[in-house]
């Protein structure tokens, strides 16, 4: 579904990433680590087509990102749930509408989805904040809302950038649980994080691969945990 073939990327200066190849198989569960500034966020952006590699090819659902027009991108993004590191919302809409925005935009706003939404908000601990505006949420609450928004369409792939950076240990376990559940339903999950404890605890629930960006390359880092 997402295939990176020998790609490289640079923001204009030196190369940030190079010689990276990866095939995200349906139902796989990956962690992405690496020091701050190593290119985790950049890598995820390449995975959902927000950035185009400077060399090599990225294929989303069988299509080269270079050949996709704006509408193709929009369609691809409906199949990929993304949690940004800096969670952005529409500040004028209450949390409830923000989380269900992907449904609204794709015209799939239905009653069934509505009970789904309630459950989901409850699971991430935002059941009682549903009508708050995003600027009225705490940092951790925003992060949880971003995860909820990313998964509400039950997309085929979830790319989450530090989804537990601002929440406490118990909550991060809950969020992990949600992603593990989705993975059991056959969804593909990629989580960028620097929290080794999270990775360790995930290993108890699900089979994961840990990727590490180091020296511009992507390496399997299962051994050092």
């Amino acid at each position: 579904m997402i295939e990176l073939d020998n790609i490289a990327y640079s923001y204009g200066g030196g190369e940030l990433l190079s010689e990276i190849s990866l095939k995200l198989a349906p139902g796989s569960f990956h962690f992405l680590t690496g020091p701050s500034g190593s290119g985790k966020t950049t890598f995820l952006k390449l995975c959902y087509g927000a950035l185009v590699p400077t060399a090599g090819t990225v294929q989303l659902f069988g299509k080269d990102v270079r050949d996709m027009d704006r509408d193709d991108h929009a369609m691809a993004r409906r199949r990929i749930g993304v949690v940004h590191q800096d969670c952005q919302f529409l500040d004028h809409l209450p949390l409830r509408e923000n989380v269900s925005l992907p449904l609204t935009v794709s015209g799939r706003d239905s009653l069934e989805q509505n009970t789904n939404l309630k459950e989901l908000l409850h699971w991430v601990g935002l059941g009682n904040r549903a009508s708050a505006l995003p600027p009225e949420l705490s940092g951790g609450e925003r992060q949880r809302a971003a995860l909820a928004r990313a998964v509400i369409m039950s997309p085929e792939v979830v790319l989450a950038d530090e989804p537990t950076g601002n929440v406490d240990w118990e909550m991060s376990q809950r969020l992990l649980q949600l992603l593990v559940e989705l993975n059991r339903m056959g969804k593909t999950i990629v989580i960028a994080t620097h929290d080794m404890n999270l990775i360790r605890s995930a290993k108890n629930h699900v089979q994961t691969r840990v990727l590490r960006i180091s020296n511009r390359k992507l390496q399997l880092a299962g051994a050092d945990l």
Binding site: A50, R70, D71, H73, A74, M75, A76, R77, R78, V82, H84, Q88, F89, L90, D91, H92, L93, E97, L101, P102, T104, V105, S106, D109, R149
Partner: protein
């Protein structure tokens, strides 16, 4: 026309555009108000030119100087020539009464016109097409030597030039105001789009198509421009309507108001403003959306 069919969802998704929206409404209103005035000025100038045309261009004067005993004969002769000239609708010798009236401002009402050796005046009314002045002069020179044709060109030209300039001023103002309005709405739309870069990136992240995003902005600015222009036009037309009626003696101002069907012209302003906003915002939205990677 799908812009006007409210897509409530898309409208909620784009945040209220606050000051830029108010700016658009206000600019459209003020500009429509000014346009109404400029339009009224242009129309009035146009009417003025037509009126002067009617009064001067369509009429000429023939002046027949001759010894008293020949005057009548020459006048009859001249009238016959004029009647047979193509392009002349009618010709009529002024009565002594009328000639006295013309001179009254200068010589008082008691001038003994009949006994004076003053020329006989003949009023000529032209048809639409007009006559060939040079040809007529030649014929008159041959047949009625004492007759001099005055086709009023000397008076008409500067007046028509003046009316033309006023009218031009009106149309230039309208064009200027229109361009200003378009530019201002474009800039306001651009400001709104730039201020909403984050909203656009969120919408894109969750898979909204560019058309969906653009429509919400375009609809908003189109509706605002239309509404603003409608209000401005209404106020402008009201102000014109309330202007004191033109005094006809004023002579050169036919009154700045609209006349008859002219009242329907301002009605066109709001749709035109709406269309300008639609085109300007659409272009701005497409450009901005292409620019935001």
């Amino acid at each position: 026309m799908s812009v006007f069919v409210g897509d409530a969802q898309a409208d909620r998704v784009v945040p209220p555009t606050g000051f830029t929206a108010r700016l658009t409404l206000f600019a459209a209103g003020a500009m429509a108000f000014l346009t109404v005035f400029a339009l009224a000025l242009s129309l009035a100038s146009g009417r003025l030119a037509v009126r002067w045309g009617d009064e001067l261009a369509q009429s000429s004067t023939l002046r027949i100087s001759a010894p008293s005993e020949q005057l009548q004969a020459q006048t009859i002769l001249a009238l016959r020539v004029l009647e047979s000239t193509p392009g002349i609708a009618s010709a009529r010798a002024l009565s002594a009464e009328e000639q006295r009236g013309l001179l009254a401002p200068w010589f008082g009402p008691d001038l003994p016109v009949e006994t004076l050796p003053i020329p006989q005046l003949v009023e000529i009314l032209e048809t639409e097409e007009g006559y060939d002045a040079a040809g007529l002069r030649l014929r008159l020179a041959a047949e009625v030597p004492g007759a001099v044709l005055d086709d009023h060109a000397r008076w008409r030209e500067p007046l028509e030039r003046a009316a033309g300039r006023l009218r031009l001023l009106g149309w230039v103002s309208i064009a200027l105001i229109g361009a200003t309005t378009a530019a201002m709405i474009t800039l306001a739309a651009n400001a709104a789009l730039a201020a909403n870069a984050q909203v656009i990136s969120v919408l894109r992240l969750i898979g909204a198509q560019d058309g969906y995003i653009a429509r919400a902005f375009v609809r908003r600015f189109t509706v605002r421009a239309f509404l603003g222009a409608a209000i401005g036009t209404f106020l402008g037309a009201g102000a014109i309507y309330l202007l004191p009626e033109a005094q006809d003696e004023a002579g050169f101002l036919t009154g700045l108001g609209f006349v008859g069907a002219g009242w329907f012209l301002p009605v066109l302003i709001p749709p035109i403003a709406g269309f300008v906003a639609y085109a300007a915002t659409g272009a701005a939205a497409r450009r901005t959306l292409r620019g935001l990677s």
